[in-house]
């Protein structure tokens, strides 16, 4: 009987697809959250720290309570807290938000490692996945279509955010704060409060993105969990032009690029795997080069964003 698992080179695109879904999920959440934050006119580079804190908190709470979903919630709340810290400090006059972001990245990572020491050994309950490939008996296809629940939430969240930004009152307020602080003030809103809420929301999502890393894939807590995913997600937001749907697409692209290396090795092509490890970053850089223009530094950028000035 033919071996259903032997599908030759088709393994590679399937593995890339599966990897795209797996690896991209934290990017989806972090970039969607950062998208909202930046739309309100603030850039939060501290999401790396938020991500790691979320991963640690999610894992710890999941272990203590036995429920991964409570862990996810806890991760989100922790992320919101980090976001509030960021917004609180940036709200003070004369404070540079890029610097604060880098500071909180350092602080968040350090705190997470510190508090997470006892969590390295135990095993916490994990998030479930839905098997969309039950109809197939090719194991690779089934594996690629085993999609985790958080990813599905993320996919649904992206168009919801697009709709919310465009039509709801809150969406309008956030966009106004991002385009012109004066206009928001004229409307009667405190720009700082708007940005606080937007940053907290962004942190909430980033925390959830982090919990995915520790509660699903790779699925355990240790100190090498994140390798700059928080910061690259911020890059993704920029070249997704602050559009949540494009953030989703960019995250998938990034995840696929990250899965390319191991996928190729598994069919025997193992030359230059270091350069494949760098593929996502090279890809991000190339896309940024192509899509940015020197005239309007960042087309479509919220005018209040400090990096555009």
């Amino acid at each position: 009987m033919a071996d259903p698992g032997n599908i030759g080179l088709w393994t590679v695109p399937l593995a890339v697809l599966g990897g795209a879904v797996r690896v991209s999920t934290p990017f989806v959440f972090v970039s969607l959250g950062e998208c909202i934050t930046e739309r309100s006119g603030r850039i939060n580079l501290g999401l790396e720290g938020t991500l790691v804190m979320g991963a640690m908190a999610g894992y710890g709470i999941s272990y203590l309570t036995g429920s991964p979903w409570i862990g996810v919630l806890a991760a989100g709340v922790t992320g919101a807290g980090m976001g509030a810290l960021h917004a609180g400090i940036c709200g003070l006059p004369r404070v540079n938000d890029i610097a604060v972001g880098i500071a909180l990245m350092l602080f968040g990572v350090g705190l997470a490692f510190y508090l997470g020491k006892p969590l390295i050994e135990p095993t916490a309950p994990r998030l479930p996945a839905i098997d969309f490939g039950w109809w197939s008996d090719i194991p690779q296809l089934r594996a690629a279509l085993r999609i985790n629940v958080l990813f599905i939430i993320g996919v649904v969240l992206a168009p919801v955010l697009v709709w919310a930004l465009r039509t709801t009152r809150w969406g309008l307020i956030i966009r106004t704060a991002g385009e012109s602080a004066d206009a928001a003030l004229a409307m009667g809103y405190s720009v700082n409060v708007i940005r606080l809420r937007a940053t907290m929301f962004g942190g909430f999502l980033a925390g959830i993105g982090g919990s995915f890393l520790s509660l699903y894939y790779p699925g355990s807590w240790n100190e090498g969990l994140s390798s700059g995913q928080g910061i690259t997600a911020v890059a993704l937001v920029i070249f997704a032009r602050w559009n949540p749907m494009l953030c989703l697409a960019a995250s998938l692209l990034f995840g696929g690029a990250a899965a390319l290396g191991p996928a190729l090795q598994s069919v025997g092509y193992s030359h230059g795997y270091h350069l494949f490890n760098a593929a996502p970053y090279i890809l991000t850089l190339l896309i940024m080069i192509v899509t940015c223009s020197p005239k309007r530094t960042l087309i479509g950028a919220p005018a209040e964003l400090s990096i555009t000035r």
């Binding site: 698992g5 393994t11 355990s220 240790n222 969990l225 191991p262």
Partner: protein, 369 residues
């Protein structure tokens, strides 16, 4: 060792004289505690390489008259030199164990030259006659344990495909891969082993991706050589594959899927070294050993392991422990068809040729570069 020569030789000349040289400051140290310093490159509870050493250190803490100081996450830069000096100057350490490979040259050697009366023991380094006499290197032939683990894997695999997640294609790793494969082939000559190199010692996301890729390919037994096997073990078990552990016993992470594993046995070696040190005996500069010398061990078999597998594995283990069994004996061809060990040649574990291994044996799918 010739004790006559020691009583006649002068101080600090030649290897034999080291006994006297290290005994002199010890005579005052014997009166109080001996402080032993451990330096880890990663986190002490990584369920892997560093934890194995920490387990050895923990065995020392139970000994009377021994004080242990440990420092973790010390990078392989001049920071480790400062750490060693700090332990020597501020903690009074006289015996140091810098446990990561990259600490040896130039860092530990510099310290050994600077503090000729103290002892530095390095895990994995290649001590040669040119190096200081108060420095030593030890290592365990864990490939013997991987060989036994391979035998079990060969029996237990249903698809005939094994998988190996490796960090870098360096000789110590290649030796493990090859030993594992050759063990599996003893049980089932037609097995293949797929190896994926992640590029570095600790990359959880890449390791998870590699594990999943392997299993997507039909692999049903996975093992690894990375610093922290926890990711590989958990991800493989979650996908329903069987697992061979490494460094320490990871059975608690995947109780049903864990077949057996290759573990370090530092809990036996470190007390041995310390006893030699405190009694004034010289620790050999180049110390190697495998199952026979108890430097490594094989994990207890998991619940899934079949009777046939246990029987053959036990046989091989007994042969290795007795010292009569040779893993790398010819003819051995690599996976490109070249003969790497000629027929009739038997490379025992201490054969220096093995330390330069740069091939993957026939049956392994993958390349070293």
């Amino acid at each position: 060792m010739n004790f006559d020569k020691i009583s006649r030789r002068g101080v600090l000349k030649g290897t034999a004289a080291l006994t006297i040289g290290s005994a002199l400051p010890l005579s005052s140290a014997l009166a109080k505690d001996t402080t032993v310093g451990f330096i880890y490159v990663g986190s002490r509870d990584d369920y892997g390489y560093n934890q194995a050493h920490a387990a050895g250190a923990a065995a020392l803490k139970k000994m009377s008259g021994i004080k242990v100081v440990e420092e973790e996450k010390v990078p392989e830069t001049d920071a480790v030199e400062k750490t060693m000096e700090s332990m020597i100057n501020l903690d009074g350490a006289t015996l140091l164990f810098p446990t990561s490979f990259g600490y040896y040259n130039p860092h530990m050697l510099k310290m050994a030259v600077k503090y000729p009366k103290l002892r530095f023991e390095h895990c994995g380094g290649l001590w040669t006659e040119k190096d200081p006499k108060n420095a030593g290197s030890y290592f365990g032939y864990i490939d013997e344990a991987q060989h036994v683990s391979g035998v079990v894997a060969g029996h237990m695999t249903k698809s005939g495909k094994l998988g190996f997640v490796a960090a870098k294609p360096i000789p110590q790793v290649l030796r493990n891969i090859n030993a594992f494969t050759m063990g599996a082939k003893l049980a089932n000559p037609k097995v293949t082993l797929q190896v994926i190199f992640t590029g570095d010692w600790s990359m959880p996301v890449k390791e998870a991706e590699a594990t999943n890729s392997l299993i997507d390919q039909g692999v049903d037994v996975v093992t690894c050589h990375v610093d922290g096997p926890k990711t590989v073990v958990e991800n493989a078990a979650r996908r329903g594959a069987m697992v061979g552990g490494y460094h320490v016993n990871q059975a608690v992470l995947a109780p049903q899927a864990y077949l057996t594993g290759a573990e370090w046995n530092w809990e036996v070696l470190y007390p041995r070294f310390v006893k030699m040190f405190t009694s004034g005996e010289t620790i050999p500069n180049f110390y190697r050993g495998g199952l026979k010398e108890e430097l490594v061990k094989v994990s207890p078999y998991g619940p899934m392991v079949s009777e046939a597998a246990r029987k053959q594995a036990d046989e091989v283990k007994a042969g290795l422990t007795a010292g009569t069994y040779v893993i790398f004996k010819g003819p051995v061809t690599d996976n490109k068809g070249k003969t790497v060990i000629a027929s009739g040649v038997a490379r025992g574990q201490t054969d220096p040729e093995l330390e330069k291994m740069d091939y993957l044996v026939d049956g392994v799918i993958g390349a070293t570069s």
